[in-house]
């Protein structure tokens, strides 16, 4: 699959994302600069974590106006797979590609820790390699990861099965204590209604190797590979058996 990883001024996790995709999973990666206006022929785009534009004003507020974002919006409108992690998630919300917003953590402090998230749905292009209810051990590191949306939006997310990941404890229980940042509904990751745009606060790219952070995060990227860059469920199951090999 051909991936594009975008670098905004202030992106910090772009190199690591590219390393995981290319170096560990053997995927093809194009590094994209925020001033680029076209994506080229890609199957998936990653908006990585970091502090685009210093996260000044609001996280993601300024990055969404970067020239490349028009191309990303067009790509998403055409059904291309887009994943935003952490700051990338914030950018997708600011750009209106995902519902809701991410605000300051409940206790107002930056939080860096291992967290557990429960896979709520596996019929997605981002989690088809997981088991339903599976608990993934993936770190978070953010100051503004508290997911909020109004009641109507939250309802729509529930009924539309758009909530893909929730914070939970090691046993998969979703409790007040297992919610690190105060996110409504313990939401850690949501997709759009169409199913081709996905945002998550935990960092799968920092849980892709045993030596550093474990391997649970690989499943997110491998799911996207398995979906072949297409979000439709039929294609997902047809390609599920595809095994990734290194170069």
């Amino acid at each position: 699959m051909r991936w594009g990883v975008v670098t905004f001024p202030g992106s910090n996790d772009d190199a690591q994302t590219a390393f995981v995709l290319e170096g560990l999973l053997g995927e093809k990666v194009a590094r994209l600069w925020h001033k680029d206006t076209t994506l080229g022929a890609l199957d998936a785009v990653v908006l990585p974590g970091g502090f685009s534009y210093g996260d000044y004003l609001r996280c993601g507020a300024m990055a969404r106006f970067s020239p490349i974002m028009s191309a990303v919006e067009g790509f998403a409108a055409d059904g291309g797979l887009v994943i935003g992690v952490c700051n990338g998630f914030q950018i997708l919300c600011e750009a209106g590609l995902l519902p809701g917003a991410l605000v300051r953590n409940r206790d107002l402090r930056f939080l860096c820790q291992r967290t557990h998230v429960r896979v709520e749905d596996t019929d997605t292009a981002f989690t088809n390699r997981c088991r339903r209810g599976e608990v993934l051990d993936i770190p978070i590191k953010h100051g503004e990861g508290c997911y909020v949306a109004d009641a109507a939006t939250l309802d729509a997310l529930e009924t539309g099965r758009q909530i893909v990941l929730r914070y939970c404890d090691a046993e998969g229980r979703v409790t007040a204590g297992s919610n690190p940042n105060g996110s409504l509904g313990s939401i850690a990751g949501v997709r759009n209604a169409r199913g081709n745009v996905f945002g998550m606060m935990p960092h799968p790219e920092y849980a892709a190797e045993w030596l550093v952070g474990g391997e649970d995060g690989r499943k997110i990227f491998l799911s996207m590979v398995a979906s072949g860059g297409v979000s439709s469920d039929a294609v997902v199951s047809a390609t599920r058996s595809k095994v990734v090999s290194g170069p």
Binding site: F110, K141, L211
Partner: protein, 742 residues
Amino acid sequence: MTAPQVTLATAHEHGLTTDEFAQIETILGRTPTFEELGVFSVMWSEHCSYKSSRVHLKTLPTTGPRVLQGPGENAGALDVGDGVAVVFKIESHNHPSFVEPFQGAATGVGGILRDIFTMGARPIANLNSLHFGRPEHARTPFLVRGVVAGIGHYGNCIGVPTVGGEVHFDPGYDHNILVNAFTLGVVASDRIFRAAADGPGNSVLYVGSKTGRDGIHGASLLASAEFDAESETKRPTVQVGDPFTEKLLLEACLELMSPAYSEHLVGIQDMGAAGLTSSSTEMASRSGTGIDLDLSRVPLRERVVTPYEMLLSESQERMLLVVHRGSEEIVQELFRKWDLDAEVIGTVTDSQRLRATFEGRLVVDIPIDPLTDGAPALNRPAAEAAEQETPRLVLADLPEPVDYGEALLQLLASPNLCSREWVYRQYDAYVGGGTIVRPGSDAAVVRLPGTEKAIAISVDSMARFCAIDPYVGMVSAVAESARNLAASGAEPIGVTNCLNFGNPEKPEVMWQFQQAVQGLHDACVAFGTPVVSGNVSFYNETEGSSIPPSPVIGMVGLLEDASQHVTQWFKGDGDAIVLLGRNHEELGGSEYVATAHHQVRGTLPWIDLDVERRLIDVLRAGAREGLLRSAHDVSAGGLAIALAECCITSESSARHGARIDLEDGLRPDALLFGESHGRAVVSARRRHLTRLRELADRAEVPIAVIGEVRGQRLEIGELVALGVDEMHTRWSEAFAGLLGEE
């Protein structure tokens, strides 16, 4: 807008002595201009000139087969093989952090990061050493929150992981906290850049943020004068850190230093303390050249900034470059790509003088040498203070605890031993993808990109010991660092240091300083670890009362194989628990005596550097051979705390208990809580015990199986029986409690 007339009084206001002013007049053959006076005052300040410390620092061991760059550049560099070098340094930002903890600490991190990437190295690890006053002091919680948030803010935003550090509380820092920041970077060993201004005719470029009035007489003067109520009012404009701009600066500079562009670059130096003045002077000094600056071309943030202010401003996130004549456009284009200012503001000359013009007027014309190598160097008088003699600690006078379990819990929850997770949870320890061991174990371990290797890092100070005996305290701190590295599986290879002391004009402070430098010397010689960089922070003193002598060391170790790293917590039931080293009846200066008996005194534990060296060899061999399931050195809090930490410090909820039996005929509290050196607790599979014993015997390190990893309780003989969860709760919740949070 004419600059004020310069008189002796003006010189005094600038912190220059009558003698120094006379020297300046001799050097110039005339009265200095106001701008020149400013330049002399910052360049001759303690902070820039190291006038009180230079003669002593010269004695430190700074060479060795790995040393690519010793003290004298922005940071030191060590060769770690495979064509890779590590570049590292530690630096203080004490006074600014006391005035405005968030911004002070943040800009401290920004400054040390620039020192590292100035040399072409990509920063891959930040650590910090923090000393605060009593937790009960009204200002302490505010300072802790601000400093920690500020460090996190800068490191997180710029994308460099903060992977370790230390936090101490002591009344001695109530009015003068210490914030020392450490950064390590990696670079190809043949691509280290230096701060040189070679080649007359080459261009001087200013890049980064615009210049404002911030920090004028900031770091340099603040760090060279005692702190009192008056300085509150004289307070310079506080510097606000902009990690976003620094991130752009970092990426732009590293791109400039990459093979695609580096042919254009002659030299590069960050504008730290004394900004434009010190960076240009120091670059010219290293190359034996001169520099002409046209101040009218300095990018400004405010409309009215005088030439004096431009020369002295400590605005953050700026660098000075020297590029080949003809390369200016290409370099400027590169910085524009990163949305950064890049202005040609001067040229390299062969005049060996610093000259600056403003609107066609010559405002500075000073020979370089007296500003740098020729700056005043003092051999200040030193004498041990009379009251340095601490009363003996008579063990027999100390009542034993009634309940050893409770005593252990109290220690676990004490300010200096409780979990630092409250702190490091605010630091991104993952970013960059190289962090193998995050905060929570003896040393941080980060991998070396592109190799199988990893680097272990520990920063340590032993302020409690140093208060009793600065020589022994310093030696102990170096030993503690070395043990931390070895317990993580690494070979110690080099040292950086930050020497935080009071007013050097006081003979007793100078004595403490000399003792510490001697200790640093002796310990580094013993461990074969050269000192490649460092920083001195004098005048840590408020209203005449000085901080305890507080040297901090940062030690770097090498693991040839990253997968051989070891962490401190127990891994699985059934493993044997082994004590390396010997227990002694030494309670002097211990955390236990301080916490349970409220005394900082006694004879410090005996330290034998040869014993330490041999212990380190055993730990390293054990790690290399894969014998160690866990390893933890015994330090603050003694053996019982070390054992408890092995049970509770694991990041995951899979924690383990232990059954321990100790046979030494020592007084129980000395056995459990004494801080004798040369010890480590390791766990190993039973089948590896014979081999471990062979290694220890060969190195003549005492070895004893003292128990087994088992269950969910820590049981030590008949003395202690505590649930792991209970210990974990007390230990992990204490820090927030200190700050008045529940």
